[in-house]
């Protein structure tokens, strides 16, 4: 029997796509949206935004609500860059964290659990496509809870005021919102993905996401009570983020420590996390 081995059969018609990571993002989002409690929890994460909108309204109708805000400090309802800083770097971050731990903990952990990495990497994808695809999911969640409401607040403020005076007074504010939101997104992308590569069990990852964030803040509180040194605030993720936010929104920092140290620590963490993540993804091998 003579076999013609030179012949090749090929009927496939492929379309080159510029963003190879996009199907990974879509697939991950699809899986997240299918989760039982995603919609109510995601809606709950907008609760602080809702209260801030109410605050915006009250601040514009102070006369009507005087009976409600009697005794409150005047800066409490003042709409200025600090108002936006408080939204983006205040306790609202806890809501964001709950969203991340509930829905993003399994982004890589579930792939590890299902041994799915060979499926991704035997396709025309690079490791960076995989990681960008996963990070884009976190970016979607974080940006819809930070940049989008932040910019909408400005629009609502102008609508309630009926003028552009606010934007004229702070023309740099939209840029500050975007810069800080993207910084926050980059940090939480790497933070979540790093922790997600550390275990095949997404529940452990979820606990780690929450615990490390809270523990870093508790550690600062504990050490500060002992040593009274403000530089110990550099241990706290929350305070580091707030210090950077204070700089971006041109506000006085909470701690008497230069914002740059906090920035440096967060950026160093991000660089280290990206290196570790690439290593962890590479190291997925089965020894036989």
């Amino acid at each position: 029997m003579i076999r013609e081995h030179g012949y090749t059969h090929w009927e496939g018609r492929l379309v080159e796509r510029r963003f190879s990571w996009w199907p990974i993002t879509r697939l991950s989002l699809k899986l997240i949206f299918k989760k039982k409690y995603f919609r109510p929890t995601y809606a709950l994460a907008f609760l602080p935004a809702f209260f801030f909108v109410v605050g915006l309204y009250i601040s514009e109708r102070m006369e009507d609500f005087r009976f409600m805000v009697r005794g409150a400090r005047p800066e409490f309802l003042a709409v200025n860059p600090n108002f936006f800083k408080n939204y983006l770097a205040g306790d609202f971050l806890l809501f964001l964290l709950i969203g991340l731990m509930t829905f993003c903990a399994g982004l890589v952990a579930d792939d590890l659990r299902h041994n799915a990495l060979p499926l991704y990497f035997s396709r025309p994808l690079q490791k960076k496509d995989y990681l960008v695809g996963k990070a884009a999911v976190i970016a979607f969640l974080v940006l819809t809870l930070t940049a989008v409401p932040g910019l909408i607040f400005i629009i609502i403020k102008m609508l309630f005021a009926g003028s552009f005076a606010f934007l004229k007074a702070y023309p740099w504010l939209p840029l500050s919102i975007l810069v800080y939101s993207f910084f926050l997104t980059a940090f939480f992308c790497l933070y979540t993905i790093l922790l997600s590569t550390l275990s095949r069990n997404s529940r452990y990852v979820a606990v780690m996401i929450f615990a490390i964030y809270i523990f870093s803040d508790l550690l600062f509180g504990f050490l500060y009570a002992w040593f009274k040194n403000p530089y110990l605030s550099l241990f706290s993720i929350k305070i580091n983020l707030q210090q950077v936010a204070a700089f971006v929104f041109r506000q006085k920092p909470l701690q008497p420590v230069s914002w740059f140290w906090s920035f440096l620590i967060l950026v160093s963490f991000m660089v280290l996390a990206s290196q570790l993540v690439v290593r962890k993804i590479k190291a997925v091998e089965v020894i036989r």
């Binding site: 076999r3 090749t8 199907p23």
Partner: protein
Amino acid sequence: MSLAVVTEHLSRWYGNVLGLSDVSLEIGPGITGLLGPNGAGKSTLLKLITGQIRPSLGRVTINGQPVTGRPELFFNIGYCPEQDAFFEGMTGFQFLYWMLRLHHFLAERAGLEAEKALRLVDLYDDRNRPIKSYSRGMRQRLKIAQAIAHDPEIMVLDEPLNGLDPLGKRKIIRLIRDYGREGRLVIVSSHVLPEIEALTRKIILIHQGKVFAQGDIHEIRDLIDRHPHVVSIRTPASRVLAAALIQQPFVVKAYFGDDEESLLVETKNRDQFFRFLLEMAAVKGIKLEEITSPDDNLQAVFDYLVGKG
């Protein structure tokens, strides 16, 4: 350009454990069987070929291009990993659809190709069932489907027949043989000799991380057949059977097991031995309760071939 997978002095260590040592191969179109006992290094070789892991030494090229750092090569490569790799909550169709989307297929086309692949592996009727409800054989067929759905010219299938029922096995063997006949390059690994025999004549024997032999399966089979095989027979007529067997030239030794009913026979020619055994059962009416081969596994054969057995 003709299809070719070339490995040059390929070695891979896992810490102090040697996974693969100095493997140089040139694999062309058609089906090539990769045969070796468990832990021989077959999966390591296939992972290196598909760029899943990087070699400690040496290199792999596919159609003349190094496999690492060239994701575009995977438009034309299908890989079926040995272990299960699924998103359990998805249906079979959804899984294949998304795998095709990762191959840059547009939505409509991905749907069509997914259905086509599901038909090829007989899973079309179960396409809308969640993967977690699939049997082992169905999962195996789905794994094969994801490797062939994008119609690749190069297929790397790691133990594709594992867990399949005889009918499913036959179907998949036929499918793989069709791909080989079309001139595609198919590498199939297995630790079961008859499976590889059913697929191809071209085989590579791999043992302890090294290529032990390479060539036509019949030459290897002859080599293997020179190894005396032990067959265990359970029969109430063990003494009658032993008396008849010991007179045959192909029987080296016959001895009784722990009880009166089990007989162990060492033979140089399995085919002749089994023919004779069936004849005894049919003509003399000897009742055979159980026939097993204690050393009928590749490890024993390989030990024999490397002089350990």
